[in-house]
Amino acid sequence: MLARGNFPRAGTFVSNAEDKILRTVWLVAVTIALVTYEGFAFAEQAVDPTAVKSEDGKYLDKEGNPTFKVASDGTIDWYTYSGYRRYHSECHVCHGPDGMGSTYAPALKDSLKTMSLGDFLGVVASGRKNVSTSQNNVMPAFGDNPNVACYMDDLYVYLRARANDAVGRERPAKHEDKPPAAQKAEDSCMGKR
């Protein structure tokens, strides 16, 4: 489990001391994530995604990582739904609808089958380059983009749900209400409207 806080608004948006502290937390998180990536991420087995507990509407697996929850009537948790929305705003122009991939970016519904949380956070925050004579694939760093950085868990659980076939290609029909904790985190991260 990584030490993580709410992701702050970055760059010119950082205005007070609290934000700066949060930002530091975030950078530390990225560093740890990258260490994990360099270390044993490739050999890692996929962790059982079953939700074992809930904290303020956010579901966690047995290792304490955020995960999805689909009720028997198809209702999904708020974070998976939120991830669906943010994915289709920020990510799908390269990674395709529903994490299916495009002609120039990988299908994340497959990548998340083997990618660890730390690896995921590191790549999203810092970007990735794969440029050679036959390939020109570049992913930008989203760590400074509040539309992404404030919703890292949401994106992760949505794609984790896709990778585990828990959520299909359709738009999720029913979802849990937005938990007050999610609203609070969003307000502090994105800045109140």
Partner: protein, 601 residues
Amino acid sequence: MRKVLFATCLGAIAAFAAGAANANDELNKMSQNPKDWVMPAGDYANTRYSKLNQITAANVGKLQVAWTFSTGVLRGHEGGPLIVGNMMYVHAPFPNTVYALDLSNENKIVWKYEPKQDPNVIPVMCCDTVNRGVAYGDGKIFLHQADTTLVALDAKTGKVVWTVKNGDPAKGATGTSAPLVVKDKVLIGISGGEFGVQCHVTAYDLKTGKQVWRAFSEGPDDQIMVDPEKTTELGKPVGKDSSLKTWQGDQWKIGGGCTWGWMSYDPALNLVYYGSGNPSTWNPKQRPGDNKWSMTIFARNPDTGMARWVYQMTPHDEWDYDGVNEMILSDQQVGGADRKLLTHFDRNGLGYTLDRATGELLVADKFDPKVNWTTGVDMNKGSPTYGRPKVVDQYSTEKQGEDHNNKGICPAALGTKDEQPAAYSPDTQLFYVPTNHVCMDYEPFKVSYTAGQPYVGATLSMYPPPGESHMGNFIAWDGKTGKIVWSNKELFSVWSGALATAGGVVFYGTLEGYLKAVDAKTGKELYKFKTPSGIIGNVTTYEQGGKQYIAVLSGVGGWAGIGLAAGLTEPTEGLGAVGGYKALSDYTALGGTLTVFALPQ
């Protein structure tokens, strides 16, 4: 001695003045020669029509592949090659390679240009790393690189003559569109509507690359280059601060309105025409007002940059219906009178015909019957909403508000037609239009702006119209009456530029990779050949050594490569889709090849 000097000076001045005029006259004259294809759309009127008639409706069935050429790049290949005399200029997506081939010498590579560009520009490009081709003029080839560098290359050697930076990729501005050479200037737009760029069209001096004028799509009057009294919309002066008044605060500074489509030019009226794209963000609630002049047709004087007239098609966009698609200029009779017309097939699903001298709106009709966000444009000149589309509340993402999923909007954000240019044949007086037949769910929500990061603010899913399994049509359109004359179903969106010829044949490509030839009068399919990859390029024709050739780039990608590589939402009982709608990846794979066709010996 003094007299001699004076005479020499006069001569030099005369020669200089003539030189400026000649570059244009030369180009205009060359564009009349059907053996060449000297500008992106073949001619200034953007007709994509060729007088070549060796290949006819009767013999096109015998067409064969004459030769092929690989660009060495595997991303989406939009645009098409230029042909100037015995030389062909072929461009590629990022890294934006340009090849000069000698058509009279076994298509040998005479020179190759490959710029060094920072690959960090790649993810700032909205939808794949496409480039829509090069322009020719004054012995130079002009290329707008991904990193917004506009470069002039010596057409004979490929040596760089001058370069100029047209925008800042760190803020999301990129180069994808083809330049247009007009008189002594080269005109170029810019991309970045999904990154909140304040977009513009800029004119550079043909000889030196020095900036002559720059006209933004939104901002103060001096920046957008309108005259409050003389620039008109639908016959009335636009008035002071016509753009500023339609934005909240400083939002126009990140307002989008990008300019990455194909420009056209009328030498007699001395006006250039182009469209501007979506206002940023895609969440309409975040930018109250009409957001002028996004989604607008512009007619500008190429010498000064000043706008003669404007027409905003989709005020306060709520669906990402960019207005960048090409303006096709034709001279036809409307109501018994000769009219100088401009026809435009907009992303919003309406086909517009205007008087291109005055900007008077003559026709605005749906070119896909499934279009449902509007009941049509108010054509009553006395009405306070004259010229505005009537929006259906159910499909208004503004009315329904943030965090509401608006279902079943047709067309989808990629439009009933995107950048893939249509063709016009003066023989049939019909337009040949590649179209998308796709609907969407659209949910806008709050986003915040960070320079150089996506600024989108909506999530959407796309699918064929309910009850249908095909996602494209290739149609013939009568611009005078606003009617579809014939329509051919295509399994996928038709994302290839069309070509009409005097041989009575119309050509286009498909996303599966077929180059197709159809009868211009009836739409009957006469020939098809499957090229190495899906086609999002434009079909070109030229003559070399007494023989007519047809050329097209294949290489699937672009925005079509995003949704369609994965397949859009799969068919379900609920949608009532019949037949097998399958992902594009079942039909084709990445590629980058020019395929050239001719009749057998």
